[in-house]
Symmetry: D2
Subunit: 408 residues, 4 copies
């Protein structure tokens, strides 16, 4: 343990990571550099400075990464209509690679030889942090205190604080949620507590970002979203930066009860886990992106994306953002978006997001062909007979050679 | 044309297929056998008998296929969480193979050498009918009047009726919907009319099976669905047949504004098409099936299914139900469902379906491992370090050999 | 038929396409522009000029496309290790998009409104020519004489020549192969004749480009191939252009009996077909490319390519080279090749191609880790225990919950 | 370590596993049960009895598993045309699940609480053994001495033998191959030694199962293989059991120089590794199985298998034979084989395997349709025009709406 000289820690300013600061100082005899990022989690990050200073930290990084987060991570992921196991919008997963990247960049700037984080040994986040760190700084040493120490209960943590003179905000700590939570501009998540029983319904007061559908307005809200190359660049005609888009959609979505999710998911480490999520903006973006693609993407392009998507989602979920396979798929995905331009109109109402219109100068929808009315010869219906005959040929041959395609 | 002696026609009893009866009799000089099926479209099928008789049809088949439809087609498809292009639940697609099967079976029973249908030359249904027919009766002759005749407007059809003494129910015909519709137990669909402009919002009075979310009850409805081998066998504790399950869910779902969909989809024949759908029961089933699988399916089993699903959906959408590839995938899917048993609790509210609980005697959710509390040693967090190190190894080697995984 | 004013014909100078020139002139009363390309088929193309002139053709295009063919079509395809149905190297398929492209470009240059080709109505080539043409010139008219005329026997063709004063090289025609053949720099193919019986062994004198393994030298030939970004740029240290590379490998491969193939393949139009192929250079390239990738590609990158390859191959086989889905996959593939540099040593001997060495400055092979000898701590074997434990976790949970993974 | 009472060891009778017996007895103070299997590795297994007895082992299992190995593992795998990374026939991978199965079955029979094996901590085999063991006996304890002890050189091992009175066959040990080898009925593999340099050509005297192509007979050998449901059941008309089939093909293949392979592969644990393999019978089986499928499998069935194969291969390579995903894919694969019956004729010559004929009562090859001669109307060439037009439609629409499919 004596080899580690300096550690960059992903530091929230909360109790757990404050304990880690001291623990790293004591156990590793290492200098600690703290890194605190504003990813839109909805809490001030600046107070982390004083806390770090109180713990004797000399190099303190506090950064607003909201625009980079949405522009370089969230938006690229949404170009693929990404969804894990049919339900989960990857709100936690997509933030980890950015944090890992900054951790190792800061390690390189400050001459640190290790990074550390506060994720437990049972979850996905440890994997995502560490895969990112190893990919970008292969010789880095990773310290995951939760896998090493024996402070595996709140009581022991509190005792540690007392023994080591770590100031505890008892007021805040008392009203601590019974849930393990994570938040960033894309979502807030809840795990643990009564959620550990998958049959138990989540309590209404758990949810923080959205009103319940029952409490949402009785009048629907309509939005018009403008897309350029697969990304939203304006809402209701007003140009917005990536982070502003997501903040706006979170606000309007949450106010309409949009984006709650309650699932059991399969973690990379091999266990099933119950999680609840609020992803108001992301829920709107997924639906609307499919809609703009529906008129601007070629059919087989869309199907190819659909078939690759579960794999792309899994790669991100498992923490392989910086891997070659993710980047290869991103090339394919991004290329497909060069004509994904136009407007989508959505209706938000008491938890639902409905697409009610889509239009584009790059639309491939051809009314003159699709029409039930006279199409003035732009499509020859007789072509369909040959099309069907040859598509059927392999089955007709099989059947005519005695195979029973009904019973066999 | 003189070679065809007898034709089995998929006959709805409506104006269009009545014209086809006469047209086949005249143009092909063929005897026509009519086949009318109750697939739960919500209209009486028995009146088709008198209409067929009036047209001189001697062999009239009228059948209630609702249970077979749900048991052998809808349920198997839902085992795969099937959804086409991320949105469409394949309500029309899944009914066609059953109709095709009965058409050729009746052709074989009655000694007919041809089958006929009323689908247009621009759509998917012609393909689905005909691929099914060719697969199950490779020597069958298919007559698709819409691809052959020149009665390509309502006026010409009416004129044809007048010229050929076909009785027209003018009252019914006048209040005819401006939309092209299709219905069965799984859904009702709308195309054409103002929907041909993808930017135009569907009118409220178009929808027939569901109330609008705004008109739905202010109180949520909860349902408990019981699964056996991936299929729902009981609702709120009451055992039900497959068709009864779907009828029940349609009723409750529709009353809660559940299941409306408005999309632009890619047809097999190569064009994009706007369609609106109401699939109340199917919308509930998709969500609930994913939930029961979430606790009973192995992770990689679920992911394999997810990766194959778009392909399975496409095969069905394109009309290849009776193909070898569909049957091969069905083997894989059905096998995966042998432990998909248990209960799912869903909440329906103003258009939303939310899963609020799931449980199973076959659950793979292990609270003792997943818990944030002390797990009494059932999971060794230190294992995670080695797991991550070896998962990272290929990236660490690449980076240590000079590849820049950030910029490259 | 009178609407067509000018047609660009893919013209080989042979009997069949000469008949087509006259037939187009007569039946369509159209001016014919001929296009003859040297794709490395091994026959002079210049003689086609006199023949076209004799038929009254005024606009005659004769072009050497060998470099473009290999650089822009063959090489990109080989970056994907492309192989159709586990065996076929797509020698015919990959030439068609280039011909289609030139046909429509010439049509645009000459103001022609149609293109024509000599492919039959049963094969894949008609599809490939026409899909290419429609994609690049959507309003083009395609004339496929073999689908229209009734000259469906050699006798009728000869009679047509006599009736229309088309000069026939009887000497050449007499020694005409009993096989339908196609050739370009990548391969030569044989169909028809006794090959129509899949049990019959191909006759030795059918093969044209390679000696039989039995006749090949008793001494092996070694080659050293240099790769840059996935393409061969030098052989035995000598830099070569793409077409030169392939010519060289064809010569050496053919001399060593390399590259014969005898298969039954599935055509896009729905039937099975027996074909024999000689692809000496391609066979070497496929094997060697996998070898250079084996040390320079990341594992998951390689696996992703492998899983996409059958689909990519099918897209090309079916004629969708100019489609969005092919281009999307090409982005992914090409991106993966940026470090595929180095040398491969292959041994050719009596029909076999064996890789005997591979090296690269961009190698990811790490002897210090892979060694069976002491690795000086670069890999901690204890990591494997945790890696295995967590990979096993989902199965251990399933088994501990009573599932029998042996019998179930 | 004191908790382990009895360990079942995969025991070869060689030096390494003999040391492990003693080490387990000493370090774990555990009773050791040995299990030695004849999988066709070509060495007597019975001598292992005396060696185990000399080490004080009381429960000794020696079993001939050759038929089970080929019938239940090798043949099912070959139904999928399985090949890892385009080259490797998985000869080692496929034997591990059977050994794991017997280890845990013997553990259950003998009341052992642990299993042990002699695989190193860098390779794939440890993973395959242990994943199998954990899947079939979730509470089993696994002891992998190579990950635990410090006997990481031959000298230390010899010293251990001397210190612990383990008899060493010095004669045999002296002529020990410089390669790490593994053998069973499917293949023999070589790693280590000079192979650790991927540029170095393997020495001729390394290879044990096959003559070099240069030394193979100057006359080709022809074989006729009879398939039933995808498996070979007879050779040259003589019915044979699964193991006999493979033994026969190994003998004839090896005598003709067939089946050598030299690759760099990607291990599951994250590193690249050079391996050489001899798989004479398997090489013939892969080629021949594709041939019998080429006439009996539906096109889309074959393509679906091809697209799933890399994943199926990876699952086996990585050791997940007993997983749900492997079994699901096996269902799909086995179902597809129900008509894969018939004969394949292959020619073996100096390292090459060529298919020269295939026939089947279940053939889908239809000469009357495929013929270049007059087909008497069984295929209407005009159908192709409509087929192509509709396949082109999406591209024609895109192009007509201004997209440049050439340059874009």
């Amino acid at each position: 343990m004596s080899e580690i000289k300096k550690v960059v820690l992903a530091y929230s300013g909360g109790l757990d990571t404050s304990v880690i600061v001291r623990w790293l100082q004591d156990e590793y005899n290492a200098e600690v550099v703290t890194f605190t990022a504003d990813l839109g989690q909805g809490e001030e990050v600046e107070p982390a400075r004083a806390k770090a200073e109180a713990l004797g930290v000399k190099e303190i990084y506090i950064e607003d990464l909201r625009e980079e987060f949405v522009r370089d991570f969230v938006f690229p992921m949404f170009r693929a209509n990404t969804i894990y196991e049919g339900e989960y919008l990857l709100g936690t997963s997509i933030a980890r690679p950015l944090i890992a990247k900054r951790l190792v960049e800061i390690a390189q700037e400050t001459g640190a030889d290790a990074i550390s984080h506060g994720a437990t040994g049972k979850g996905n986040d440890q994997v995502r942090f560490e895969l990112g760190a190893y990919a970008l700084m292969p010789g880095v040493h990773v310290i995951a205190p939760w896998r090493e120490w024996d402070l595996n209960s709140r009581e022991k943590l509190m005792q540690y604080c007392e023994d080591h003179n770590i100031e505890v905000d008892f007021a805040k700590n008392k009203k601590k949620s019974p849930y393990s939570m994570d938040a960033n501009l894309l979502h807030i998540s809840y795990e643990g507590g009564i959620l550990e029983d998958p049959w138990a319904e989540a309590e209404e007061d758990m949810w923080r970002w959205s009103v319940s559908p029952e409490q949402a307005p009785d009048e629907a809200t309509y939005l018009e979203l403008t897309y350029e190359k697969g990304d939203i660049v304006a809402i209701n005609g007003e140009a917005m930066s990536p982070a502003t888009v997501l903040e706006y959609l979170n606000k309007v979505g949450g106010a309409n009860g949009v984006g709650r999710l309650d699932i059991v998911e399969n973690r990379f480490v091999g266990m099933k886990s119950r999680g609840c999520y609020e992803t108001p903006g992301g829920t709107i973006m997924l639906k609307a992106h499919r809609a703009i693609e529906s008129i601007t993407l070629d059919r087989e392009a869309a199907h190819l994306k659909d078939e690759l998507m579960p794999r792309y989602a899994k790669v991100i979920y498992n923490g392989f953002w910086w891997s070659e396979e993710r980047k290869m798929m991103q090339q394919l995905i991004d290329y497909s978006q060069r004509n994904v331009n136009g407007e989508v109109r959505v209706k938000l109402y008491k938890g639902s997001v409905d697409v009610v219109g889509r239009r584009s100068a790059d639309s491939l929808f051809d009314e003159s062909i699709a029409t039930f009315e006279d199409d003035a010869g732009s499509y020859d219906q007789k072509d369909a007979a040959g099309f069907i005959k040859l598509n059927a040929l392999r089955m007709r041959i099989a059947a005519s050679k005695g195979r029973d395609l009904l019973e066999d």
